[in-house]
């Protein structure tokens, strides 16, 4: 019984951590807009934490470049399983307009595995919330399969 309560709770308490890989700040303010009274993602139990060790979902915005890819990997490794990664915006997905710059690696999935891609430039708050929900469903499935 306790096991099923834990499983149910996972989807009800996603603590998100937001990492900015050098975005133009467009996507970041949209992520933070989700926390405002208008969208109020805290309704779904979402808490914006600043510590990868407490986080369940990693939201990555901006283009990954050669300097910050190590940081991204490090943050990802510090998150305890089960976890999900959501790439936000054109930059997070593929590198966006910056993909051809000499210092840019490309999308987040070049460095760490990504579960959900949220498109847009910037991504809309509704799309981000949608992405988080889809991400939770994915990681519930992952946990199921691992057992």
């Amino acid at each position: 019984m306790f096991g099923s309560f834990i499983k149910k709770s996972r989807a009800k308490s996603p603590w998100i951590m937001h990492f900015d890989c050098g975005s133009c700040n467009g996507c970041d303010i949209e992520v933070l807009a989700c926390l405002t009274p208008l969208y109020d993602v805290e309704r779904f139990g979402v808490v914006n934490v600043g510590n990868p060790k407490h986080a369940d979902v990693l939201l990555v915005t901006g283009t990954v470049n050669h300097r910050n890819k190590k940081v991204l990997k490090n943050i990802y490794d510090q998150m305890p399983e089960p976890k999900a990664v959501i790439a936000i915006g054109a930059c997070g997905n593929t590198g966006g307009v910056f993909r051809e710059a000499y210092n840019v690696v490309g999308g987040v999935d070049k460095v760490i595995p990504v579960d959900v891609y949220v498109p847009g430039c910037p991504a809309k708050p509704e799309a981000i919330i949608d992405g988080v929900v889809a991400g939770l469903a994915k990681f519930a499935q992952k946990v199921e399969e691992a057992k």
Binding site: R10, H54, P80
Partner: protein, 282 residues
């Protein structure tokens, strides 16, 4: 036999009540900010989720410290419900607080280190207040035991109102609310990440959360002793106190530790001492 039943009620009921209170707290906070807020059960979901996560520790000390913190918090609540000695209750609780700090100090993370030192300063600020409140209980009842308080005819609030206000400071610090939330705040992305809790994760963070519920109930229990004669008034007093805490939390910014020491020691201890002199003279 009766004591045993009370202890069991305390051990089982306190975390349930504490968790519900934490959920309610978030609801009321959301209401202040004209949001809807999470479900009341949210605190239980959070902890259940934490127990389902991977066990990650920096060193073995952390496991011990998290458990000792929980056991000490539960033991102090059990002693409280067993109508035991107030001094014993506070010493057991202090052991837990010290182990929480030790767990943070055992890691190399600078956030945890700074958080641990700030937590120590907080302990330094509220413990004397608690002891002075107990001295007040002693002067009124002639004993440190909770049983002696229940034997009183009139509510203690009439005799020690200033001590109650001072206890409010201790409550704010213990609940980790603004302006005194500088060792670990509810919003961990600011300033110190999460202070003492930075290096705890998964199930161990869950243990600490449960211990925190026990402590919340313990301090609220101390507040309840001020109006022991009537259950309705006691409930009203607690509700009003807690609402005031949430209001203060939402309207105040975090302050520095120097500000806290000055406020709590000068105002809190000052009020306590004035009240004690009044009790002595009266």
């Amino acid at each position: 036999m009766e004591t045993l039943i009370l202890v069991i009620i305390g051990l089982v009921g306190a975390p349930l009540a504490g968790g519900l209170l934490a959920g309610l707290d978030r609801r009321v906070t959301a209401w202040f900010q004209s949001r809807q807020g999470p479900p009341i059960m949210q605190a239980f979901y959070d902890v259940a989720k934490l127990f389902g996560k991977e066990k990650m520790v920096v060193n073995q000390w952390q496991i011990l410290c998290a458990w000792v913190y929980l056991v000490a918090a539960a033991a102090s609540v059990a002693l409280f419900f067993a109508q035991g000695d107030l001094l014993l209750v506070i010493f057991v609780q202090a052991i837990g607080a010290v182990f929480l700090v030790m767990g943070a100090l055992s890691t190399k993370s600078p956030y945890a280190q700074v958080g641990a030192q700030r937590e120590l300063i907080q302990v330094l600020a509220y413990e004397p207040i608690l002891v002075l409140v107990f001295v007040g209980f002693y002067m009124v009842t002639g004993s440190f035991s909770i049983e002696a308080i229940w034997a009183q005819e009139t509510p203690l609030l009439a005799k020690m109102p200033l001590l109650y206000l001072a206890l409010g400071y201790a409550l704010t610090i213990k609940l980790r609310k603004s302006p005194f939330d500088f060792s670990t705040s509810h919003h961990g992305h600011q300033e110190l990440v999460k202070g003492v809790l930075t290096e705890y994760s998964g199930p161990y963070l869950g243990l600490i959360e449960i211990a925190h519920w026990y402590e919340t109930i313990l301090v609220l229990g101390l507040c309840a002793l001020f109006w022991h004669t009537n259950v309705a008034w006691m409930a009203l007093l607690l509700a009003a106190t807690y609402m005031l805490e949430i209001l203060v939390d939402n309207t105040m910014a975090r302050m520095t530790w120097r500000w806290m020491i000055k406020r709590v020691w000068l105002l809190g201890m000052g009020m306590s001492v004035v009240n004690l002199i009044w009790l002595y003279a009266g």
